[in-house]
Symmetry: C2
Subunit: 201 residues, 2 copies
DNA sequence: GCACTCAGTAAACAGTGTTCACTACTATAC
DNA sequence: GTATAGTAGTGAACACTGTTTACTGAGTGC
């Protein structure tokens, strides 16, 4: 990451880029990805549609940038909820619940992150960060004997299982089961605890 | 369901409706939901764009119909894989794996079923069918003592947990982790078995 | 003070879903 | 067998979309 000190105009340009990005994000939050319109966005920030193409190559490029930003927000939201303790199970539980909560709080952003076109590698970096820190916790739990693995249920599989569980809960909740049960956070806790029970020593 | 015997022209109309629907489905399968174009679709079946509006109120209406059809396919695919036996655990495992496999085989259809706009109640019926039969298996397992419930982990929660697990696996696989591991079906089996272990007596 | 860079514009282009007046054919009623 | 009503399908228009391109005008470096 080599960033030489930027000139004022470079900083101004970076600022309006952020401005565009943030407004795009808010538009997606309010109306969904399909509700994002280049023309409406340009209008909102007092620009001409064509001007945006000086900052982003295309609409997809802009969406990718919003997606990456959302991934970062999700990751830091989770990181905030995980206070590093000696209890790996507690960290997994809190992190997982944070994941589910974030999805419930920002369904449109969550949907944006996990749809088919998101494999464009833009968000791949952030995804790897999430996966790595998850794996780290699991391996920490194994190392200190808090968790126990089996030959076909190793650290990687355990981590994957945790992610699949919270992702499944969050995804079902934000798509086809919207607000069907009001106790869904308690419910999620029970299910996640059950999964964790499956590999505590 | 009151359907009086249809006249020939009614049957003809129903036939072209099915024709439109099937071509729309194939177009979605090949190019995704966003790749579905009314004009391209009309072109493909030698109609004028406007003609389709005699069969579907709008593009969204058409998409809803495709979604409902896909849900039906998924449900019958799973039903085929579940031979009714006395072993509820086996039924859950086979059904869950069928779910995951279907998603892997038809990622675009799967994505269509589980995106934000799908709560339009069109697919609600099919969803309820799936949930009911899942719940039935769990209750069957409980009744014959094969499974055991706890006060905060009752039949409904167990069913929900199973669905969330397979959905999470399928969703992760078809979105951000496409083909990252080739042994993902075996992996899925291990994870699902772990979940089931959590409530067998 | 001059030349140059470049952010931003206006207008056009090709595409989209949707509507509507209209045509042509088909099924029914007399 | 002919007139009538209904309707499947057309073609052109409308209001939108994302994107490109020639151009303008203000700010920077020399």
């Amino acid at each position: 990451m080599v960033t030489k000190n930027p000139t004022p105009q470079e900083r101004r340009k970076e600022q309006t880029r952020r401005d565009i990005l943030e407004n795009a994000r808010q538009m997606i939050v309010r109306q969904g990805v399909d509700g994002l319109s280049i023309r409406a966005l340009a209008d909102q920030i007092d620009y001409t549609p064509g001007a945006l193409y000086k900052y982003f190559d295309s609409k997809d490029d802009l969406i990718d940038a919003v997606r990456a930003a959302s991934f970062e927000r999700l990751n830091s939201f989770i990181a905030m909820r995980i206070q590093p303790t000696n209890n790996a199970a507690e960290m997994l539980l809190n992190g997982g619940l944070a994941y589910i909560e974030y999805a419930a709080l920002h369904p449109q952003e969550y949907f944006l992150m996990f749809n088919m076109e998101s494999s464009k590698a833009t968000s791949g970096e952030q995804r790897d960060i999430a996966m790595r820190s998850l794996l780290q916790i699991v391996e920490f739990g194994l190392m200190q004997g808090e968790f126990v693995a089996q030959d076909d249920y190793d650290a990687a599989t355990i981590a994957y299982h945790c992610w699949a569980t919270v992702h499944g809960i969050a995804s079902l909740q934000t798509t086809i089961l919207l607000d069907e049960r009001d106790d869904f956070l308690l419910l999620s806790r029970v299910m996640l605890q059950k999964v964790i029970e499956g590999f505590v020593a």
